[in-house]
């Protein structure tokens, strides 16, 4: 295609018409804010009064922007689900919460979807912003949800120092092993040997074990769970929110689209099986060597301190 072709108004008209036809097909799909996210899921024959109109947890979400933009099979939805359940069970008023996030897919879990005060910040700085919020609003629950690239990569220093300071904030780090939003580049947690879009000859670096790093840096509560362990994760979230001091959960999560294509697990189910099969509870790791634990996810409560 020459620049002359590209500059030809008639050619552009053709492309525009073709695009318009495609878009009319798109009209069949729901667009933001115009369609009830649960419409179509309810049986129209069923009487409205016989069941609640909406899911009991919908009140915790910004309904006007649903459905979420997460890819099919993304672990982000599971984290949002467990988080919302945790808040509901704890009877926390969302008016008493601030969710602080960074940049990346995982940061979109609470901002914009969770209905509380939300601070969607620059890449890597969520914890630093949250420190300023917590100092001024010590009575509010300040919760950070962000990804591995955000909190452990570009923002790793803030994570270490917030743990050292033991400031009373709660961090849920969603570790999906990859930079998902930018299209699947290697991250600090990508397993050794995996090919990504920026490690086309395989990853030659070893992944960071983030929860262990935070446990060494300080903090009052450090745990690791996966999106496969939804109920354990929810209980752990409640514990972390309740715990005074810096609390941290590394949530191993699946990204079938960006990580899955690299690791040869394009379907969400095999991603979840990968998390299940490689998880080992911390209580069962006694006497195991470093080699035996290589590539395993040690789940459960790793550290609890009262400082």
């Amino acid at each position: 295609m020459s620049i002359r072709d590209l500059s030809d108004p008639e050619y552009f008209d053709e492309v525009a018409e073709a695009n318009a036809e495609e878009r009319s097909m798109d009209g069949l799909r729901p667009t933001y804010g115009t369609v009830d996210p649960l419409s179509g899921l309810m049986d129209p024959a069923e009487s409205v009064s016989s069941r609640p109109e909406h899911h009991r947890l919908l009140k915790y979400l910004r309904r006007e922007i649903l459905p979420t933009t997460f890819c099919t099979g993304c672990g982000g939805g599971t984290v949002l689900n467990t988080f919302t359940n945790a808040i509901d069970e704890m009877r926390i008023d969302p008016k008493e919460m601030v969710c602080v996030t960074g940049i990346g897919c995982s940061s979109w879990i609470p901002s914009p979807y969770f209905l509380c005060d939300t601070l969607h910040t620059t890449h890597g700085r969520a914890i630093a912003f949250a420190c300023g919020v917590k100092v001024m609003k010590p009575d509010m629950k300040v919760i950070i949800i962000a990804g591995d690239g955000d909190l452990a990569g570009i923002g790793g220093n803030h994570l270490i120092h917030a743990a050292r300071r033991n400031i009373d904030i709660t961090v849920f780090l969603v570790n999906n092993f990859i930079y998902g939003m930018t299209g699947g580049q290697v991250s600090p947690t990508t397993p050794f040997g995996i090919r990504t879009t920026t490690t086309p000859y395989a990853n030659v670096e070893h992944p960071m074990r983030i929860a262990d790093l935070v446990a060494a840096a300080g903090g009052s509560y450090v745990a690791r769970w996966t999106t496969f362990h939804a109920f354990q994760l929810m209980e752990s979230m409640q514990y972390a929110i309740r715990k005074k001091g810096f609390s941290f959960i590394e949530v191993m999560s699946q990204c079938p689209v960006s990580f899955g294509k690299s690791a040869g697990m394009k379907d969400p189910v095999s991603n979840l099986k990968y998390l299940r099969d490689n998880s080992i509870h911390v209580d069962g790791t006694k006497g195991m060597s470093e080699e035996e634990l290589e590539g395993k996810f040690v789940v459960g409560r790793l550290v609890e301190r009262n400082q």
Binding site: R62, E64, I65, P94, K95, E96, V98, V100, S111, P112, L115, C116, D117, T118, L119, H120, T121, T122, G124, R125, A128, F129, A130, C131, G132, V133, V135, M136, K137, M140, N157, H158, I160, H161
Partner: protein
């Protein structure tokens, strides 16, 4: 523990009241910090750096006395982040740094512009680039203050020439930040930061504090009017703050070109429209003068000295000192330069404000730059005046 029935705000008020009318022989850094306290600063996040560290030291000593909060962070990235977070949680917040730290803060200064967060960033300029001459003054960050963060925006920056001005303008910085809901850069330099002058603290009753305009539930915090009201965390309004392009209600919308166009044009317009109101320029024009000297910050002091010496020797020389650096007070400077043939602009850099001046004035603009960490002497500037007059 001392038992008291006073509320923290009353203690703060009593403490500041006790300082009213007192005279001090202090550094510019200390005066800027005390000015911030009088302006109602309640949060300071910082990281040590010469020649700005004294501001953090004073804040760490004074803020706990007035129920404020001081946190020393792991770096300047965290400092500016926490300052913005604290502002959304109700604080009047500030950080202070110098060149290298100011460079690190640029991304989040843009975030503060985009999210319309009132806060004050003090940059006690030092000699660069990079680590440069760590302890020595310069004026090399004037254009960085204007364009350091990426994307279209307007910014407010003020530059003091005396220690008393460090105090007074610090208060004005906070008020401009609140009035225009924007980050304000207090563009000091290492010389003014470390020089000691007599400084008088006003009585707290004389200090005007521009109150934060807060909205109510359902009100748009990011549009609807040129400077929308703020919804803070804890107000129960479920505010959504993002540095991404957003609609009037704060919801992210990065795909609609009209949303971005409307938002960014408004962010620029709210400051641009008020540039005459923000402008502060000291003008000392002499009838019939053909030569003028324009200087700001520390350089304005030897420059004024040179002008007064030249006048004593019979020369006619005008003196212009912009105190507001951004938005640039071009029309005020152009009016003051009316009738001049030439304008000498001494600066501690290799050419920054002189180019901005050229855009507004008709006369010849002679840049007289000096770098190396030493400010101009009056004799040097006077020699330049004589050379120009010849």
């Amino acid at each position: 523990m001392l038992e008291t029935t006073l509320a923290p705000a009353e203690i703060a008020d009593l403490y500041l009241r006790s300082l009213g009318g007192t005279e001090h022989f202090i550094q510019g850094d200390e005066a800027a910090a005390m000015g911030a306290l009088f302006a109602g600063c309640t949060f300071f996040g910082g990281y040590p750096i010469t020649p700005a560290s004294e501001i953090a030291e004073v804040m760490s000593r004074e803020l706990p006395l007035i129920d404020g909060h001081y946190v020393q962070f792991e770096d300047e990235l965290a400092s500016i982040s926490a300052v913005i977070g604290a502002a959304w949680a109700g604080a009047r917040s500030m950080t202070a740094t110098s060149g290298p730290g100011f460079s690190l803060m640029q991304e989040n200064i843009g975030y503060a512009v985009m999210t319309e967060t009132p806060c004050v960033i003090v940059n006690v300029q030092r000699s660069g680039p990079s680590t440069g001459q760590a302890t020595l003054p310069a004026q090399g960050d004037v254009m960085q203050a204007r364009w350091g963060t990426h994307g279209d925006h307007e910014i407010i920056a003020l530059s003091p020439s005396t220690v008393q001005e460090c105090f007074d303008l610090a208060i004005r910085c906070f008020n401009l930040a609140e009035e225009f809901r924007t980050p304000v850069i207090f563009l000091m330099d290492g010389e003014i930061g470390h020089v000691r002058d007599k400084t008088v603290f006003p009585s707290i009753g004389e200090v005007t504090r521009f109150p934060r305009r807060k909205g109510t539930e359902g009100q748009d915090a990011f549009g609807g009017e040129t400077i929308p009201p703020m919804l803070e965390f804890g107000d129960g309004c479920f505010v959504h703050v993002t540095g991404s392009t957003h609609q009037d209600n704060g919801m992210r919308d990065v795909q609609t070109s009209t949303v971005h166009d409307r938002l960014v044009r408004r962010l620029v317009r709210k400051i641009d429209e008020a540039r005459d109101r923000i402008a502060m320029v000291e003008v000392d024009v002499m009838d019939g003068a053909k030569t003028g000297v324009l200087a700001y910050g520390a350089t304005a002091r030897p420059a004024l000295g040179a002008v007064l010496q030249a006048r004593a020797a019979g020369a006619k020389v005008s003196f212009i000192r912009p105190i507001t650096i951004w938005p640039f007070p071009g029309s005020q400077i152009a009016a003051a330069c009316d009738g001049l043939d030439r304008l000498i602009v001494p600066e501690m850099n290799l050419g920054q404000v002189n180019r901005e001046v050229e855009r507004y004035v008709d006369c010849e603009v002679i840049h007289f730059g000096k770098i190396g960490g030493e400010i101009h002497s009056s004799a040097e500037i006077r020699a330049e005046i004589e050379r120009a007059n010849r």
